[in-house]
Subunit: 239 residues, 2 copies
DNA sequence: GAGATCTAAAGTGTCGACACTTCGAGTCAA
DNA sequence: TTGACTCGAAGTGTCGACACTTTAGATCTC
């Protein structure tokens, strides 16, 4: 999906830390690094063939993104997401994305609908749950960019990776419960798109909130990155 | 004002970088460091009697808080806030704080009203506009903490310093236009508190949005940290 | 065998150094 | 006078080193 006109480039610093960040984030999201795993600076530095400085910078960013946790002892671990974290992320998303939907719908253009329809079409054909999650996040990022508010976008981006982990977990849970995640996701986004394109900001905002509430209604008792790989499901279910 | 039960301690790392961060932030907020001023790591390191590492860490955090800007050349400057930034911050606040008000009002306790009433009483007696701004921010931080959502709180804290700069600028503009900033602020927060304590989450959320919209209605053409000190006013006024 | 104690290994916080890049005052040519 | 050029000065990105702290296995005691 092509992105909105506005390029991000919020932090123009281009350095080794950025590459380490990307690599570490990918390993956490993919589940290669699991919750609780230790992230020692010297070990990672050797692994990436760099010194500790860029690694340290990347870890600080990952902590801000909520994927990593600094212990009181100073050590760093991959963070474990609990059900409460799941709820918190849902509320934060509702807050940020409802406002974004409100602003985006005020300046909605036909090509925006085209872009998002293409995204939904690809959702329907997604071959893996990971791909479905990625497309889902991309849909929402597009709306966030349309809002043309760098603050809102930056805030959203700082929770987007936690959000992506939650999403994958939700999709997987839906599948084990014999709901069709593709079908649910596609249908939900189609309804949302109608509201976004309606030209009614308040309707768009409200529908976005409902969309997020419903899409994150299925909350596993613990969101583990390992779920991505193992396919094991926790049977717990809220409400 | 006593803070809510929950301590923050989101990042338990206690190091020199934290002290440098506090000092630099204070200098920017106070206007001692002005927009556009260069922030060179070796210069600051010598100033703080430290090496560059802690300074670098602090600058990265300040960039995340929006008080500092990394140029494409790699240099670092104190950021200039424009009218568009002002609008962005207002929308971001409405998004985050409306949700916080919704959640906070659901678990409202009498002592919360007492705390905030004390804050309002101090607003009325604030001797300087800077103190009025500080109390205003404290009021809103209290509500954010009551929401008991660390994501929401963290996101809010990452824009709170920009917000404080905007607020001070607004108050000053109100004063030059012969509106009484104390009176406006006190009255507005009193109405908001009533809504928060009403036990109706949706009313609380809506009133919070209206409160923020009205409190940030007066937008100077450029929000300069220098305003704090010089007292010079830009006469531009939106709407 | 269980618990307390010791100790080497490993980790963080901080530092100064070096290479490369960017800036800006001074110089030179038109 | 103005514009391009030069070349130190200053700044960033990165590195390896050291001191102090925490960890975890080994040892000792009861």
């Amino acid at each position: 999906m092509p992105h909105s006109a506005k390029p991000p480039a919020l932090n123009p610093r281009r350095n080794l830390a950025g590459e380490v960040l990307l690599a570490l984030r990918a390993e956490i999201i993919s589940g290669h690094l699991q919750p609780g795993d230790a992230l020692a600076e010297p070990v990672l530095a050797k692994q990436f063939g760099s010194s500790r400085a860029p690694v340290r910078e990347a870890l600080i960013e990952l902590e801000r993104e909520g994927l990593v946790q600094f212990e009181l002892t100073g050590r760093t671990k991959v963070r474990t997401l609990t059900e409460q974290d799941f709820d918190e992320i849902r509320d934060a998303r509702v807050a940020l994305e409802s406002m974004a939907a409100r602003r985006a719908s005020a300046t909605w253009a036909p090509e925006d609908s085209t872009c998002l329809e293409q995204n939904i079409a690809r959702q329907a054909k997604a071959s893996t749950l990971a791909e479905l999650s990625r497309l889902d996040v991309e849909f929402h990022e597009y709306v966030m960019r349309l809002a043309a508010n760098t603050r809102l976008l930056t805030l959203w981006q700082s929770i987007r990776w936690q959000f992506e982990m939650c999403l994958a977990s939700t999709h997987r849970l839906q599948q084990t419960l014999a709901c069709r995640p593709h079908q649910i996701t596609v249908s939900s986004h189609r309804h949302l798109l109608t509201a976004l394109a309606s030209g009614k900001p308040e309707v768009a905002a409200q529908k976005m909130a409902l969309h997020i509430e419903s899409s994150m209604e299925w909350s596993p008792s613990e969101i583990s990155t390992a779920d991505h790989l193992t396919g094991l499901a926790t049977e717990t279910h809220r409400r």
